[in-house]
């Protein structure tokens, strides 16, 4: 009994200073992450083009955001980003689920061949220039398909999906089969409804990848009218390529553009954190 009391006392004594320091460390880390973003947020709302750090804008304006959604040169890339993200995520999920479902058909002749075929793409990579030349041969350069198609077939995500499907009890498939379901019907009515969580995780992974895509646009697209928001943003910030035709400060517009590029996932993310985190864990922890 006395032993127990001793430990409890020790426990309390020891825990006093450490949590405080630890908490402080995390407050500092959070600040280090949030302050740069906060500075950009304030810049995007400030018409005065003051540069020093401040907690609130000195003269409030929504002109930066207004400019993005009024000027065709700025809202067009935004719309293109949205379209690419939507179509790409849909196509990505379609291919990943179809492929994953076929890969769990262990008795299917050729299943191993398909699996090794996918596996090999993760080992050896054709390289940037051959991919570019393929796009050229397919006449896809300067179309949005050049960006959507190659990214929507993601073998890593396909294997994740397959791993998830493998966890579905086989008895379900057999029961459905005995009841006369065709493979497609099993897929639509049993497999997909059972894997909503995985669909959410992998769908979010696709959406983030498509929204943030910069490299593919840079390589395959040279037409100004088809640039997405990331390309536009980089041109604005790094090359100061901002149409300077009205009263809004270029720095305000650039900052607003940064915030607009972050915003979609900053809004979705706190609600879907579970799914994002789950995506990482099914990838590495689960067999």
């Amino acid at each position: 009994m006395s032993d127990n009391t001793v430990t409890v006392v020790k426990h309390k004594k020891k825990f006093k200073i450490f949590p405080l320091v630890n908490g402080l460390v995390f407050i500092l880390i959070s600040l280090a992450i949030m302050l740069p973003i906060w500075k950009v947020i304030i810049d995007s709302l400030d018409a005065s083009s003051a540069y020093s750090f401040r907690w609130v804008p000195s003269s409030f304006t929504l002109g930066g955001y207004g400019a993005i959604f009024k000027r065709a040169a700025l809202y067009r890339p935004f719309l293109i980003s949205c379209v690419v993200t939507l179509i790409g995520t849909f196509m990505g999920l379609l291919l990943v689920t179809l492929g994953g479902y076929v890969l769990i058909q262990w008795e299917m002749p050729g299943r191993n061949f398909f699996a090794y075929m996918l596996l090999f793409t993760m080992i050896f990579d054709g390289g940037m220039i051959p991919k570019f030349l393929v796009m050229k041969n397919l006449h896809l350069l300067n179309t949005l398909w050049a960006v959507i198609l190659p990214m929507s077939i993601n073998c890593y995500n396909l294997v994740l999906m397959r791993n998830f499907f493998e966890g579905i009890p086989e008895a379900l498939f057999e029961a459905a089969e005995i009841d006369g379901c065709s493979p497609m019907r099993i897929f639509v009515q049993i497999v997909l409804p059972l894997s909503k969580a995985a669909l959410a995780s992998i769908g979010l992974m696709f959406a983030v990848a498509f929204w943030n895509d910069y490299t593919n646009f840079k390589i395959y697209i040279t037409n100004n009218n088809l640039f997405n928001f990331q390309i536009k943003l980089r041109n604005m910030v790094m090359d100061s390529d901002i149409p300077n035709d009205d009263s809004v400060d270029p720095n305000t517009i650039a900052s607003a553009a940064v915030i607009v590029a972050i915003l979609p996932f900053a809004i979705i993310y706190p609600f879907c954190q579970k799914y994002f985190v789950q995506g990482v864990n099914i990838g590495a922890v689960k067999e």
Binding site: H11, P19, S30, L118, I123, I129, I219, A254
Partner: protein, 487 residues
Amino acid sequence: MQCKSCNTELPKRAKVCPKCGTKVNDKPEGSLKVIAIIGLVVAMIGSMMPFVQNTEDITDAYSYMNISVPAMWYLFILCFVASIILIVLKKEKLSFISTALAAVIFIVSFVAFDFKGYTSRTNFTLHRLTELLSDGYNGSNYVIGAGSVLLILGLIIGVVGCFIDVLQYFKKDLGVDKKYLTNSINRSIWTTMYYHRGFYIMFIPVFIMIVLFYYWPMLGCRYAFTRYVITDPYYVGLKHFKQMFTNDVYFWQAFRNTLILSITKLVLNTGAAVIISLLLNEIVSLGFKKTVQTIVYLPHFMSWVVVASVFKMILDPNASGVVNSLLLKWNLINEPIYFLGDTKYWRGTFYVMNVWKDTGWGTILFLATLSGISPDLYEAAQIDGANRWKRLLYITLPALANTIITVFILNLAKVMNLFESVFVTINAAVYSVGQVLQTYVYFKTFSSGNSDYGYTTAVGLFKSFIGMLLVLTCNFLSKKVRGRGIV
């Protein structure tokens, strides 16, 4: 199927007998497969070579390849096809011999067969066949003829071989399957295939996309052996590789930078993630922990463009950059630092950006492992008088070690892929410290007008090859450490 040592009925696809724990030796071990795969890749690259031939440039130091390859190549492609068939028939040893033979032929065709004396390609009867099968050889353009026909044939044979392999697997397994797999009992391979017809149709879109966007570019590696400026690639042998390894300082610079940047980044990110997850694990208040997690994960969702933009805004050397103005105000520096434009600071800034963006996200796996450690262990250690440090040293770290190694291995495989993060932050002033292989390929191809696609493909092929070796090594290490591969 029955277990060999205790004769229990085994469940389908069991790896270990549930009763006695003996390993079920259903498939052969995969150690030779790795070698075979490497061999096949070499074979693939080699088999690309005769795709592109021309009669010009006969004076070129490497042009003898044009003459010597066809004859050797038929032997070569035979070995290549044989290896594929043998590997799917699970005759790994024979497949390995066949692949080794292919490699020997490959080397011999380079070294021993110096046909410089020959100027006429028609000396080779077999080469006649190429011309016969080729679709229009006009003397200067490249030809896709017998080469492609044989390659396609080889692939078809490979696929058929795979089916045969699966068929045998069935025959072996019928004993168990009888109970619940009524569909495949005593049926021929064609019936089984017909039964699965729906799945084949479902796989068609995936198959087409994979062939188009992964395998066709692999075929494009053949351009590494050609000179390809705008149109009409023609064969130059290993010229690009020779130039790359002996004459191109920028290539070596880029290679060095790739290794330095990726590996330092990997060590820093993993180290920071481990420390942060250890500290995060000590937080008692659940609400605070969740908030902190939400905040530190956030930068992961920003694109590299956004991260680079944010950092450019705060690190700007002009009055607009907060960091420089503060440092100036506190008299720590006399003139503004060009964080992103100075070779002295660029790498440091790059590492800071990486840590800022990805450390939080990197903690997920470590936190998952930490939450799996039984609290009983800590309690027992506490009762035994272990302090916080001792508990960390003897309980937490050993439990975490496996995950740390796993994360390290997973990321080591991606070392050569470093691209976008560098691509958006680099500028001409810092090429010497920041240029990596991928950006080098990009800038060399797309920034200058008449660039040689062949040369940059060669650089890319080198990068892919090193990347492949890394993936295979990491796969091997991963199998040793945690019992399963990464791919």
